[in-house]
Every structure is written in C-alpha cells, then in structure tokens.
Amino acid sequence: MDFDLTEEQNLTRQAVRDFAENEIAPIAHELDEKEEFSADLTRRMAELGLLGCFVPEKYGGSNMGYISYIIAVEELARIDGSQAATIAAGNSLGIGPIYYFGSEKQKKEWLPRLCAGEILAGFGLTEPEAGSDAGSSKTRAERKGHNWIINGSKIFITNSACSMTGVVVVQAVTGAQADGKPEISCIIVPANASGFTAKAMKGKMMWRASNTGELFFDNCTVPAGNLLGKQGDGFHQMLSTLDGGRLSIAAMGLGGAQGAFDVALEYANKRIQFGRPISSFQVNAFKLADMAIEIELARNLLYKACWLREKGRTFTKEAAMAKLYCSEVMHRCVHHAVQLHGGYGLMKDFRVERLYRDQRLLEIGEGTSEIQRIVIARHIGVAGRAI
C-alpha cells in the first residue's frame, strides 16, 4: 500500500493553494457580500488549467489524474466554496458529460472553448418538481424533422446563467420505453438557441459568488445532432455524471473542513482568555483533535474512491459514502470552528462565517444526504430496494 501522493499531485496542491491564498482569499468576502459571479477570476482559474483537469490535451485539457483534480477542488474549497463550486461544476457537470458521452464532433466543438475558460457549461437535471426524484423530469424534447423541440424548465443549475455560459446539457423526456417508463435523453443546448432563456437566481444563503440559474425552454429548437450519445441513454449518463460530481462535492466538504480547522487552530492558539490561549483548555483542544481525526478519515475515504475511479473500477458506493461523509465532516468542523471563534465567528469579517454558510449546500446538492444513504443502502445488501 502506498499513501504517498505523487509529485504531480503534490505540485498541484501547492500551485492551487498558492493561487487560492493569493488571488481568491483577498476578494472572496466582497464577492460573497455582493453576491457576484466573477468572470475575471473564473478565466484566471482556467488559465491555471482548472477547467478540463481530466480532459486530454488534444481537446485543450490538462490531462491530470482524477486525484489531482479532486485535490485542486479541495484546495479551492479550503479558501472559498463559491470558486470551488464554479470549478467543480464546470468540470464534473459541465465538461464531464460532453467529454464522456459526446461524439468526436461535439467534443471538438465544445471542449477547447470550455477548457480555455472562454465559456462555461451547465448540466440541467433538477426541475421544480423533479429534485431528488430526478427521473421524473417533465421537460420534454420532441424530434421534428432535423430538430429537437424542447419545452419545460430547470432550476438551480450551476454556471447556467452568467456572462460566460455558452452551453447547457439538458435532461429531457424523449419518448416512452417498451415498459411504458419515460425514455430519457440528454441534449446539448447552446446558450443562444432560440426559445431558450436563463435567469440568474439571487438571494442564496451560500455559494453566493457562484452562478445558479433557472432555465426556461419555450419551443426551444436545436439541431438533431445535439443529442448527447444515444437516444434513451440520458438516465444512465446522468447517474454516471453524478458519481463523478459527488467526488467533487466531497472534495468541497474535505477542503472546507480543512479550511475551518486551519482558521480555528490559528485563532484558538492566539486568543487569550483567563491568561491562556483558549486552545489550551482541554475542551477546546479536544474539539481540534476531533476535527483532525475526521478530516484524516474523510481524506482517506475520498482519495480511495478517486483511486478506484482512476483504476477503472466501480466506485458508486464509495462516491456516495465520500460525498455524504465529507459534507457531514465539514458540518461538524464548521460548527466547532465557529464555536472556537466565539462571537467573532458570527461576524462576516471572519472566513469561518462564510465556511459555515457554504457548508450547508453540500448536504443537499448532487443528491441529498438522505439520497446518498439510499444509494449506499442499495449497495450493502439491505433487503428489498431501499427508497
């Protein structure tokens, strides 16, 4: 067994950490306050190679291993959840489906611009009435001549309604299967397609500098060739995309937990009460010890899930476990970290306040914690089909 990270992985961590500390940290608070997505910062993250991490160089990607990609997201999330969200969704949800399921023509058309950070892609799955039950999409796409005509709406779609959005991949019902169940497919919709509108959603509690959009399809028309992969493959494509996406959400939990630990340790060592640093009171030292243990466990679990993926083995169960565990570890870590900061932890001037809010999404997005437990239960031999 080898627990050492490779040279590539260590260099990646250092490079992304340098960037996050020097370029993101100084402006993260202001972007959060103003609830502002920064195209400039996103482009600079793309220059670093953060979009298209796992895509081969011939399509403009950085061609790194999956663990390196996850380390990059972890390091961004250590400083700022919003920027980590832009990159995690940009890769796993935006670039991922086109790279893994797109035709050569589709890859050549979209990937170079996506990897260069000229445009961003969104992945539209969730609908107002189809959240956890993602298979119950109401959005329909009908084939008419050489086109698909799409009608319906999507909600909460990351990177789908900002100045950089170039394309969204949308899950829609394209017919019925032999057993009467809906046939689901994914279709590539360019941002300028006729009948398509995207509206930025405002007033988020967390990820305030990440773009979230509501999408409307009103006889939206795209060429027949925009079907992603085969007709009827949409549900499988969605499940596989979410497996990858869960690893990146787990990375955000891990990175955020590490960030909370780092600020809490620094603060608790400096803050003097009763003539001593508050970290020297056992009750506080134990909080820090508990955080350190859980972060270590979370990291081992997540890296193992990524390692399985790199080896081409099944990792659905481990991805669900890592997503669930890392987001819940961050939950406990931000809770302790705010407690250690006392009143200051409730103030927006302190990074821990933002970490506390940003954590909340992780137990909801890309499958709630309840849904992760269902996925895990299905893989560990519980009787019947867990729902």
Binding site: T6, E7, E8, L11, A15, S68
Partner: protein, 269 residues
C-alpha cells in the same frame, strides 16, 4: 538564448516562527518534518525574469534550472519546470551540504562550465535562509563574466545585448550588458507566475539530471562544508524580550515631554 537559473530549496520563510529549529551544536538550521521546503522566493522571480524572455520566442530560448543541495524534494525543485522552464540539473550529494557562498558558487561555476553553452545566468538577489546575497556575484567572478545585481527588469535587445533596470536607493539605473552575463533579480520584478496544471503534467514527465561532485570535476572532499572560506562561530536564536512602559499624563503635551524624557534616559535619543 540559453539561460540558466540557479534555484535553491530553502526552509519556507512563511512558516510560523514557532516551527523554526536550530541545531546549535552543528551551527545549522533544521528542516522541520511537518513543513515543506520551498523554492527561494527571489529565485522564483529569477525564473520569472527568464520566462519573460522566453515568452517572446518559445523556440529560440531555453531555460535550464540548476539546484544544489542534498535530499532535494522533487516536488519542490521541479516547480520552475512546472512554471515553464525546460530542464533541471540537480547538484545533489551529501558532500554538498554545509557550504558557504564561496563553496556554493564554486560548485555552480563548475556545473555551468560543464553545461557549456549559456548566454544569461539568473540568480535571486539573495536566499531567505542566510540572506548573504553573495552567490550571484561570486559565480560571475568565478566564470569571469560581467554581472548586474538587484535587477527589476531584463530585456534582450536587437543585437543580443541585454538591457537591465537595476534598483538603487532612489530609483533605478538602466544598464546595458553584453552576454554572457549574470543578473541577480529582486522582488521589484513583480510576482512570479503560478505553475499551471499543464506545466505540472509536463514537469512530472521530465527527469532531472543529477550530478555528483565527481561529475563536475570536483573532489567530494573539497566541496560543501569542506570548501568553506568562512566559519560560523556561533548560531543562536535571540530571545525575544518585550517590555512595555505606558507613559500616562493629563495632557498630550505633558505626555510628549515625559516620553522624550524616558527615551533620553534609555539613551534612545
């Protein structure tokens, strides 16, 4: 243009002071195991200076990095490669340990002679462990080439000369130097670029060339500590003492005169 940049692996100068440890018996600093070493920040800027020249014409310019030390961490010394440098030579051997500026400059000079072809050598203005700032000038002297220190800009001009802007107390001088030459780079050059993920992938595929003393024609018994011209008599961490007297008075004027009195008593003014 063939460029060589000398880069040293150092203790992270940003690390918390509490992690700094000395081996007083041997007059050495100790690398704490939990803290990763880094490339000396001024040396990163020296790499940046070379990269800015290379940016103008990638094919016509080549950058070779040379690092000297022992137990060099590959994921640290490869950073300049991931920023865009082409090759990495490591002078790596236990015998190289413990050298002073003269010992280091001598070994670097021997290595550079072995490389043979070079037009420009860049060094950081000083390294962050000892802050001596002598290796650059010493190296130029040993190679018999001109040097310009504390540069904030270096540009290759038509005809091959190099225009250098050199920091002085109240501004900067503009100098022209013919090649081959050595330039030491200061922080006024501006931030060094980030390593890119593509650069990291390229760097992880490159294997550094490792030279021992014998490979550069030196006797292992006459490098590093054995080649020192200077001797450290005593290395110690001064104890930080803070004493604070609060001068209080009824009016600012009275406070000022009491403060002046105190300062005079303590021979500060």
């Amino acid at each position: 243009m063939n460029m060589i940049v000398c880069c040293k692996q150092v203790l992270d100068p940003e690390a918390a002071p509490s992690t700094f440890k000395l081996d007083a018996a041997n007059n050495r600093m100790v690398q704490p195991p939990e803290i990763k070493p880094v490339v000396n920040p001024y040396d990163e800027q020296a790499v940046e200076a070379a990269l800015r020249i290379k940016d103008k014409d990638k094919a016509a310019n080549k950058i070779t990095i040379i690092s000297l030390g022992n137990n060099l961490a590959r994921d640290v010394v490869k950073k300049p490669l991931s920023m865009g440098a082409d090759e990495l030579i490591l002078l790596e051997d236990p015998a190289f340990e413990g050298g002073d500026s003269f010992a280091v400059a001598s070994a670097l000079a021997a290595a550079i002679k072995k490389v043979g072809q070079f037009d420009l050598i860049f060094c950081g203005r000083q390294e962050s462990e000892w802050d001596d700032g002598q290796v650059g000038s010493g190296l130029a002297e040993l190679l018999g080439i001109p040097s310009v220190t504390i540069a904030k800009k270096a540009e290759v001009m038509d005809g091959g000369k190099v225009k250098v802007e050199r920091i002085v107390a109240d501004g900067y001088q503009v100098l022209e130097v013919s090649t081959p030459a050595l330039i030491t780079v200061s922080n006024e050059l501006g931030e060094a670029r980030y390593a890119t993920l593509k650069g990291i992938m390229a760097a992880s595929k490159k294997q550094p060339v490792v030279w021992k003393p014998a490979d550069i024609g030196m006797d292992a018994g006459k490098v590093g500590a054995a080649a020192r011209k200077s001797k450290i008599v005593k290395l110690f961490q001064p104890v930080k003492e803070g004493k604070c007297d609060i001068v209080s008075a009824d009016s600012p004027a009275e406070a000022a005169s009491l403060l002046a009195q105190k300062l005079r008593e303590n021979k500060v003014i």
